[in-house]
């Protein structure tokens, strides 16, 4: 009994060391009821993983808790087996677009420069190389011509691309995105997925909350079905099957398929 316990712990240590983002026993509560309960998630290196689930399933909550944006009741997070606090330089984060004050007095290029905060520190001088990197990141998302616009003057899709450019400027290994396709135009969705797949092909890891069930098999390699607890997780071919979807969405599955926006959030 003891021996098998030790062995399973050792196996998990090895699993976590190989995973760019591993979450164990994550529980978060807003008030009385848990938003997510005892969630385990092991993101596969070099893959694109979607977190999918009905409205209120705790998808964003799981991301935020994993990144330390909100404080969990319980749970641990490792990045390649190391504590998150030591590995923040390896992670880039794209929050939900709606979480930000778009009237803020800041230009597009300044937003992208925010991605270099950990490189620049409190008082580090902004040099030519930093500006060049910011401009290059904007170019990669097709926003090079908008560098000096105030962010509030952009459309929703353009704002989302600027957010992605900021994440690119972090030059991380893991890209974590919260609803990157919510409320964006078709052209932006194509542009974003192309950038993300480019990252994946360059060996980076992508993890995104996604609400459009129809595009999951096209866009992603792995999927984690969430409804407060983990319903299923694994490669899309194995985990993204009718029974699991039925278990995650219940009666809402038909609605979710007909109108992807209705389950956003």
């Amino acid at each position: 009994m003891n021996i098998s316990l030790v062995t399973s712990q050792d196996t998990d240590l090895a699993t976590r060391a190989a995973s760019p983002l591993a979450v164990r026993g994550m529980t978060v509560s807003y008030g009385q009821t848990p938003a997510i309960f005892s969630v385990d998630m092991t993101v596969r290196a070099g893959a694109m993983t979607a977190i999918v689930g009905p409205n209120g399933a705790g998808k964003s909550t799981l991301l935020k808790a994993a990144l330390g944006v909100i404080a969990p009741l319980a749970g641990s997070v490792t990045v390649f087996g190391e504590p998150m606090a030591d590995m923040r330089d390896r992670i880039a984060y794209v929050p939900q677009r709606a979480s930000v004050d778009w009237d803020f007095p800041v230009r597009v290029i300044d937003v992208v420069m925010m991605g270099m905060y950990r490189k620049l520190g409190l008082l580090g001088r902004i040099r030519g190389q930093h500006k060049a990197l910011a401009q290059e990141c904007l170019d990669r998302v097709g926003m090079a011509d908008f560098a000096h616009r105030q962010i509030g003057q952009l459309s929703g899709g353009q704002q989302q691309r600027v957010f992605l450019a900021r994440a690119l400027a972090q030059e991380a290994d893991i890209y974590v995105l919260d609803e990157p396709f919510a409320g964006v135009d078709a052209a932006t969705e194509k542009a974003i997925i192309a950038v993300l797949q480019g990252l994946r092909d360059a060996g980076k890891t992508v993890l995104a909350v996604h609400h459009d069930l129809a595009t999951v098999p096209d866009y992603f390699d792995d999927v984690l079905l969430l409804n407060t607890q983990v319903v299923a997780a694994g490669p899309v071919a194995e985990a993204f099957i009718e029974d699991n979807l039925q278990a995650a969405y219940g009666g809402r599955l038909t609605t979710a398929r007909a109108d992807p926006e209705s389950v956003a959030g």
Binding site: K64, L67, G68, V69, A85, R88, I91, Y93, P95, Q96, S99, V100, D101, W102, D103, F104, P105, V106, R107, D110, V111, M114, Y117, R118, L120, L122, L123, Q150, G152, Q153, R166, V176
Partner: protein
């Protein structure tokens, strides 16, 4: 325009400018964080703190007053949080309830206590005594280089300089994380920025400005300067650094213009008495805001 100006007008104008700038600087961030009311709250709750400090120590001295004000600010923050949670009331309403109640309590305390012998009363609390901060040792511009004369400067002047230096240093040092966490708190936390202590530090800086300024100029200027210059500056530009620069300019302009108008304005229109400098400075800052709202180049919003 010489000895008389240096002795009677220069110190109040300088103090007015220092107060205005010290309040406007953190005000920019409070405004963008939709916490502008905090400046209002702090400047009101300072009063009961100062009165209690006087009742306990029996003297009007900077140390006890600052301690009393700081204690009142802490109590107010706890009380606001308690009202918000227990009463399930939104933050703005909770603040409004607590700071008006504490200010009113301070007024009652003040009336009941024997403060007639010292310079502490309700009028003073509201609009200070800027005009009385004169420099009797000054004999002309040369006095600015005379150590003996400089020693006689009103104590409020070096105090405000110190407060402004502390606030400016804080903003310079933490500019990036402050801007980042104000714009996008979730992203900042993902970067490992500790946003809660940073937000608290900003409130403490605002409290330092309010407490240091309170004795010299009263609460009217403090409240006006936390909000009016940054709000006017926001309509002049779409860049944070430029906004803060504009707010400093507007704050200084309001202080100088307000002081001069209060002293000489009534004479120009035929009246024979001057009006409160604090009231006029606050009024001018409001007029600047009004002009910016009508004519500022970046006054339209997208949402």
């Amino acid at each position: 325009m010489g000895a008389e100006f240096v002795a009677l007008s220069l110190p109040p104008i300088l103090i007015g400018v220092l107060v205005a700038v010290a309040c406007a600087l953190p005000g920019n961030f409070l405004l963008l964080r939709r916490q502008a009311l905090i400046g209002d709250a702090i400047s009101h709750v300072v009063l009961p703190g100062i009165v209690v400090a006087f009742l306990v120590t029996g003297l009007i001295a900077t140390g006890p007053m600052l301690l009393g004000a700081a204690a009142a600010a802490v109590i107010a923050v706890i009380a606001i949080e308690a009202v918000r949670r227990l009463g399930r009331i939104e933050a703005g309403a909770a603040m409004g309830v607590i700071f008006t109640a504490m200010f009113a309590g301070g007024v009652l305390l003040l009336e009941q206590s024997d403060t007639s012998s010292v310079h502490l009363d309700v009028e003073h609390a509201l609009y200070g005594n800027l005009e009385s901060l004169i420099w009797l040792d000054a004999t002309g511009w040369a006095s600015l280089l005379d150590p003996a004369a400089l020693a006689g400067l009103p104590v409020e002047l070096p105090r405000m300089v110190l407060a402004l230096v502390v606030i400016a240093l804080f903003l310079w040092l933490f500019w990036r994380p402050l801007a980042l966490s104000t714009f996008d708190e979730g992203f900042s936390r993902g970067l490992g920025i500790r946003t809660a202590p940073l937000g608290l530090a900003l409130v403490i800086m605002s409290a330092i400005a309010a407490v240091a300024a309170f004795d010299a100029v009263g609460s009217i200027i403090v409240i006006a300067m936390f909000i009016c210059p940054p709000a006017a500056a926001r309509m002049m530009t779409n860049r944070l650094g430029h906004q803060v620069a504009w707010s400093v300019l507007f704050a200084a302009l309001a202080a100088v213009l307000g002081y001069v108008l209060a002293g000489y304005g009534p004479l120009w229109i035929g009246a024979n008495a001057s009006v409160s400098a604090a009231g006029m400075i606050a009024t001018v800052s409001g007029i600047i805001l009004g002009v910016a709202a009508v004519a500022g180049p970046h006054r339209t919003r997208n949402s």
